[in-house]
C-alpha cells in the first residue's frame, strides 16, 4: 500500500501550524507502518488531548481520541480485551507526563504490549504555550514569565525505571532513524516507549527565541547524538539518541491468558 493510503486525506491539510514537528512525526510513523506492511484494520491508535493527540484523526486506523492524559488507560482496555490488535499511543509531553504520568509508569510496569510515542515539544502547544514537565529549568512559557524553575523528567530514565521493555529516543529531524526505531517499537512484544523530540515554533520557538521551524530542527541535530557515538563521548551534555532498552519480559496479555487457562482448568477439576 502507498503511504497515503494510511492517511485520511479528506481531513488534510491538517490542523497543525506551519513547521510543527508533529506533522513530521506523523510522516515518519505512517512510513514505519507501511514498511511493516501492517493491515490498517489491525491497528488501533489511541490518543489523548493536545496538538499531538490530533494525530489519531489523520490516520486511517481504528482511532480513539480520548481525554487529556488518559490515552494509555483506554489503550489498556482495548489491548487487553482484544490482544490481537496493534495499539499505538502517541502523546504530547504534557499528556504523557504531566497529567498522564501515572498511567505512563503503570503501563510500563505491566509491560502491556502497547507502543507509546511521546511527541515531546517541551511545551503545552494546544493551550498556548505553558511549560511542561519536559521543559526543564530556564525556559520561558506563558506560565513561567520569569522562566521555569522546575527540573524536567528524563523520559528514557523514567520509562526504564518503571519497567518498559523497549525504550528509545529520536527527533523530528532524524526522520529515517525515527522510522526505524518505530518499526522496532511496534514489533516489540511488551510496552515500548519512543520519545521523539518535536518542535512547536508557534509557542516554544517564539517564546524562547529559537527561530523558525528549520532552526529548531537544526537544534535537534546539534543538541543530540547517537548513543555510542564519538560526539556523545566528547560532549556528554548532548541528549543521547537511540535504543536504550530492548529486553524480553513477560507481557501482560500473555500472562493473563495463562491465568485464564489456569482458572478454566481449575474450574473443571
Amino acid at each position: 500500500m502507498a503511504v497515503k493510503d494510511y492517511l485520511r486525506e479528506r481531513y488534510f491539510p491538517h490542523m497543525w501550524c506551519p513547521g510543527c514537528g508533529h506533522g513530521t512525526i506523523l510522516n515518519s510513523l505512517i512510513r514505519a507502518v507501511e514498511e511493516l506492511q501492517l493491515h490498517k484494520n489491525e491497528i488501533v491508535m489511541v490518543s489523548g488531548i493536545g496538538c499531538s493527540a490530533r494525530i489519531s484523526g489523520y490516520v486511517d486506523f481504528h482511532s480513539l481520541h480520548t481525554i487529556h492524559g488518559r490515552a494509555l488507560t483506554f489503550a489498556t482496555g482495548v489491548k487487553l480485551s482484544q490482544p490481537r490488535l496493534k495499539v499505538l499511543v502517541p502523546m504530547g509531553d504534557g499528556d504523557a507526563l504531566a497529567i498522564g504520568g501515572n498511567h505512563f509508569i503503570h503501563a510500563a510496569r505491566r509491560n502491556i504490549d502497547i507502543t507509546a510515542i511521546v511527541m515531546n515539544n517541551r511545551i503545552y502547544g494546544m493551550t498556548g504555550g505553558q511549560f511542561s514537565p519536559l521543559s526543564g529549568p530556564g525556559v520561558k512559557a506563558t506560565t513561567a514569565p520569569f522562566t521555569t524553575i522546575d527540573d524536567n523528567f528524563d523520559v528514557v530514565e523514567l520509562a526504564t525505571a518503571a519497567g518498559a521493555s523497549f525504550v528509545a529516543r529520536s527527533t523530528a529531524f532524524h526522520v529515517k532513524e525515527t522510522t526505524e526505531i518505530l518499526k522496532k517499537a511496534i514489533m516489540h512484544k511488551g510496552f515500548s516507549v519512543v520519545e521523539l523530540l518535536s518542535q512547536c515554533p508557534t509557542h516554544y520557538g517564539r517564546k524562547n527565541k529559537e527561530g523558525d521551524a528549520a532552526s529548531m530542527l537544526d537544534l535537534q541535530k546539534s543538541g543530540t547524538a547517537k548513543i555510542g557515538s564519538k560526539a556523545l563521548e566528547k560532549n556528554p551534555a548532548l541528549t543521547p539518541r537511540g535504543i536504550f532498552v530492548d529486553t524480553d519480559k513477560p507481557e501482560y496479555c500473555e500472562e493473563y491468558d495463562k491465568i485464564i487457562a489456569h482458572a478454566t482448568k481449575e474450574n473443571i477439576s
Binding site: D60, H65, F74, A75, G77, Q82, N102
Partner: protein, 382 residues
C-alpha cells in the same frame, strides 16, 4: 442444595447479574463498600474467559472499560463515593461518544472520605450531574438481592440498547448484607446486545449517524470499519466539528435518546399502593424499611403503601405523578437531605404535601423513624 440458589452479599448478587448479562471485561480499583464486586469478578471472569484488571486508580478503570467496550465487549466497573467522583470526567466521555458501559456505585456516607463503612444515599444527584456539561444518564437501583441481580442485567441491557453509561446506585446495606438470590435459568431473563452495523466491507459506515429510530449501530474496533471516536463534538464520521448545527443536533440527540425513552427505562415496584392514602416513595435499602412499615400498618388497617423506585434517572416524573395523584401525603424515605424529594415535589400536583423522611447519620433508617414522621404528618403527634 439447589444449584441456582445462593446466600450472598448484594455485591456478589451484582456480580452474578453481570455474569448472567454476559460481562466480558471489568476494570476497577478497590474501595469500600464496593470492593467485593471487584474481588468476586477477579475470580469469576477468568473462569468464564473474560478479563479482569485492577488499574492504578478509578480514572484509569473507567477509561479502560470504555476502551474495551469499543472492541465489542460488555464492560463494567464498580466503585464508591470518592471513586465515583474521580470517574466523572470519563463518564462524560462515554456519554459523548455513546459507548455502552455499566458503573456500579455502592454508596457510602459522604461528602469526602466521609463514612466508608456506613450507609447513605447521597450520590443520587451526582449520578445525574457529576460530569461537566449538559447530558443525560440512566441510573438504576435496588433494595434486595433479587432486584440487584435484575437491575444489573437491566443495566447491561440498557447500556447496550441506548449506547450510554448506566449507573447502578446501590448502597452499603444492600451491598454488604447477605440474603438469598435465585439465579434464573439461562434464557429466563432477556439479554440484550448492542446493535451492530450490517454494512459490509467497503461500504461507508457512519458511526455517528443515527438511524430513523434514533439508534446508532456500532462496529467493533478491529472489525472492517475504521472510524474515529472523540469526546469533542463530532459529525457523523466521528470527526471533530464545532459547526453550530452539528453541536446542537448532537447534544439534543444525547439528551433525547434517554429522556424520550423514560417510559421504557422506568423500573418500579408497587407495595400496597392501590387505595393507599399515604404513599412512601423510596428506593434502595431505605425502601426495605418503608415496606416493613407498610406491612405492619396494613396489618393494622392503615391505608399506606410504598412506591419503590428502581430507576432514578431519567426521573419517572409522570409515573410518580400518576401513582401519587390520590395520596393525602407523600413521604419520600431516603438517606440524604432530600435529593429524590426535590424530584417528587417537582412531579406531583401538590408539592407541599410531599415530606422527607430521612436519616443521614450512617445508620439505616428504621420503620420506627418513618412512623414517627408519619404520625406528625397525620397530625397525630409524635
Amino acid at each position: 442444595m439447589s444449584e441456582n440458589i445462593r446466600f450472598i452479599q448484594g455485591n456478589e448478587a451484582c456480580v452474578e447479574g453481570a455474569i448472567y448479562a454476559g460481562i466480558d471485561f471489568f476494570a476497577g480499583y478497590p474501595i469500600t463498600p464496593s470492593t467485593e464486586i471487584a474481588e468476586h469478578l477477579a475470580r469469576r471472569l477468568p473462569e468464564t474467559g473474560g478479563k479482569f484488571i485492577q488499574m492504578e486508580d478509578e480514572i484509569a478503570s473507567m477509561c479502560a472499560i470504555i476502551g474495551a467496550s469499543l472492541t465489542g465487549k460488555k464492560v463494567m466497573t464498580a466503585t464508591s463515593g470518592p471513586g465515583f467522583s474521580l470517574k466523572q470526567e470519563a463518564i462524560g466521555y462515554a456519554c459523548m461518544t455513546e459507548i455502552p458501559c455499566v458503573i456500579a456505585n455502592v454508596q457510602r456516607g459522604g461528602p469526602s472520605t466521609g463514612n466508608p463503612t456506613h450507609v447513605s444515599q447521597g450520590d443520587i444527584n451526582q449520578a445525574r450531574w457529576g460530569t461537566h456539561g449538559d447530558h443525560s444518564i440512566i441510573a438504576l437501583t435496588a433494595s434486595n438481592h433479587q432486584d440487584v441481580f435484575n437491575m444489573t442485567v437491566d443495566a447491561f441491557n440498557m447500556a447496550e440498547t441506548y449506547r450510554t453509561p448506566v449507573v447502578l446506585l446501590f448502597d452499603e446495606v444492600v451491598g454488604h448484607m447477605r440474603e438469598k438470590l435465585v439465579i434464573p435459568e439461562e434464557g429466563e431473563v432477556e439479554i440484550v446486545s448492542r446493535l451492530r452495523t450490517s454494512l459490509g466491507k467497503g461500504v461507508d459506515y457512519h458511526p455517528y449517524l443515527p438511524r430513523e429510530d434514533g439508534r446508532l449501530p456500532m462496529s467493533d474496533f478491529g472489525g472492517e470499519h475504521k472510524y474515529n471516536v472523540t469526546g469533542l463534538f463530532h459529525d457523523m464520521w466521528g470527526f471533530p466539528s464545532n459547526n453550530p448545527k452539528t453541536v446542537n443536533e448532537l447534544l439534543r440527540h444525547l439528551v433525547d435518546k434517554i429522556e424520550n425513552n423514560v417510559r421504557s427505562i422506568t423500573r418500579y415496584k408497587e407495595h400496597f399502593l392501590e387505595d393507599a392514602e399515604y404513599i412512601m416513595v423510596s428506593y434502595g435499602s431505605s425502601a426495605r424499611s418503608a415496606i416493613h412499615l407498610a406491612k405492619n400498618r396494613r396489618a393494622k388497617g392503615e391505608k399506606i403503601g410504598v412506591l419503590e423506585l428502581q430507576s432514578i434517572w431519567p426521573f419517572p416524573t409522570e409515573m410518580v405523578r400518576e401513582k401519587c395523584a390520590n395520596a393525602k401525603a407523600v413521604l419520600v424515605v431516603e438517606m440524604n437531605m432530600g435529593q429524590v424529594t426535590a424530584q417528587v415535589k417537582a412531579a406531583v400536583r401538590k408539592p407541599n404535601r410531599v415530606f422527607l423522611a430521612n436519616r443521614i447519620d450512617g445508620k439505616l433508617i428504621t420503620p420506627a423513624d418513618i412512623k414517627r414522621l408519619l404520625r406528625v404528618i397525620q397530625g397525630r403527634g409524635v
